[in-house]
């Protein structure tokens, strides 16, 4: 016989109520089920009004992040039976305004992504006829880790600084800026530094390190931020001591 488990799910229906509440649902706890399967079971069989985002069910689209028992996780990559005997508490990602039920408002994050110019900036473009830019596996390795971000925003939910200071550009976006800064094809470091060195940029981070702990893709945004700080400090000293030199 399949055991059962209770899910306590955060509900917020702005059309009908001003305050959120929790609904309890009892679901079967199948061996292969992830949390997301249980939510789908609820939606299909018990309560069609439960709302949440999901798509790939293979941990790569980044839609299904939620707080499970207080921790930010991808619900499609978290097995249900880990939480036996239950109950399991499911809430929307922390630190974001909630649109409805488990769906958070993410346009703040989307806006910040664009702000750091996440594209290759070149003074001179190489023409396509001249083939590819040469990039050795080691050069690729320099930024590869930072290019693995799936924009799931778990790191924002884990970051107390972002919780206190929503202006903070935050872990994933800084890692993305680093992804381009460290790419041998890119020449846009300077432009990005103007943005990242502002008040709400890297200096907000006091190194809690929790962002790297929760990241499902081992992007290590905390490391990206620290590396960036060192680089920015070096640049600052250089420009102070050798104002005639060009900053990188």
């Amino acid at each position: 016989m399949v055991s059962k488990i209770t899910l306590e799910v955060f509900r917020y229906r702005p059309d009908q109520e001003t305050q959120p509440s929790f609904d309890s649902y009892e679901v079967p706890c199948e061996k292969d089920w992830v949390i997301l399967d249980a939510l789908n079971y609820i939606k299909d069989q018990i309560d069609g009004t439960l709302s949440y985002r999901w798509s790939c069910r293979m941990g790569v689209c980044g839609s299904c992040g939620m707080m499970v028992n207080g921790e930010p996780v991808l619900t499609c990559a978290t097995f249900l039976n880990k939480f036996l005997p239950g109950p399991v508490k499911i809430e929307p990602l922390e630190h974001f305004p909630v649109v409805r039920d488990l769906i958070i408002e993410m346009s703040d994050f989307i806006g910040k992504l664009q702000k750091v110019k996440p594209w290759i900036v070149r003074k001179e473009e190489k023409s396509l006829e001249d083939g590819e830019y040469i990039q050795t596996p080691e050069q690729l390795g320099d930024y590869k880790q930072y290019s693995m971000c799936i924009n799931c925003m778990l790191c924002y939910s884990a970051c107390p600084v972002y919780g206190l200071e929503p202006e903070f550009v935050g872990p994933a976006v800084i890692a993305l800026a680093q992804r381009y800064n460290l790419d041998s094809r890119d020449q846009g470091k300077g432009e990005r530094e103007e943005i990242l060195s502002q008040d709400d940029g890297i200096w907000q981070c006091t190194f809690v390190g929790e962002c790297s702990e929760v990241c499902p893709e081992n992007v290590d945004p905390a490391g990206a931020i620290q590396r960036y700080k060192v680089a920015a400090t070096n640049n600052w000293w250089k420009s102070l001591l050798m104002p005639w030199g060009k900053s990188e």
Binding site: G141, F207, R227
Partner: protein, 145 residues
């Protein structure tokens, strides 16, 4: 703020969103957050040390009597316990700082990246060497003079 999405309209017909209030002691609810607050607080003892140093120099400049008074105060239980607490905080600050060093510094030899543990280890070794050197300097100060 950004143009590519239809940001303003998003809010227009939109029913209110729910924003959670942060309780004052939110950071106490989770160990990582408590750790974060503690680390933020370590800045206080660091400042405390700095002030003591300034006061000490000031006492020195005021003459031998003032300096003696000051060193006597340093020996009071209050001052000693403050020092012990500060010392622990500063150690905590330093340890967390060193553990983070490999995140901030990437060194390559040829094709290989130096592993984080080595960088952390080197930092600790440097720390130990400096501490021993300073301690030696102090303990032998009288002999040298």
């Amino acid at each position: 703020m950004f143009k590519s999405s239809r940001f303003p309209i998003y809010y227009k017909g939109h029913p209110r969103m729910f924003v959670k209030d942060k309780p004052i002691f939110w950071w106490a609810l989770k160990w990582v957050h408590a750790r974060f607050i503690i680390r933020e607080l370590t800045s206080v003892p660091v400042a405390f040390y700095a002030i003591i140093l300034i006061l000490q120099i000031r006492a020195l400049s005021l003459g031998p009597e003032a300096y003696a008074n000051f060193t006597n105060w340093l020996k009071t239980p209050l001052s000693l316990s403050l020092h012990v607490i500060s010392f622990l905080f500063v150690i905590y600050h330093s340890v967390t700082w060193f553990n983070l060093a490999p995140k901030a510094i990437v060194i390559r030899i040829g094709k290989n990246r130096i592993p984080g543990l080595v960088i952390t280890g080197l930092n600790y070794v440097a720390w130990a060497i400096f501490s021993v050197a300073i301690a030696w300097l102090f303990l032998n100060l009288d002999n040298l003079m």
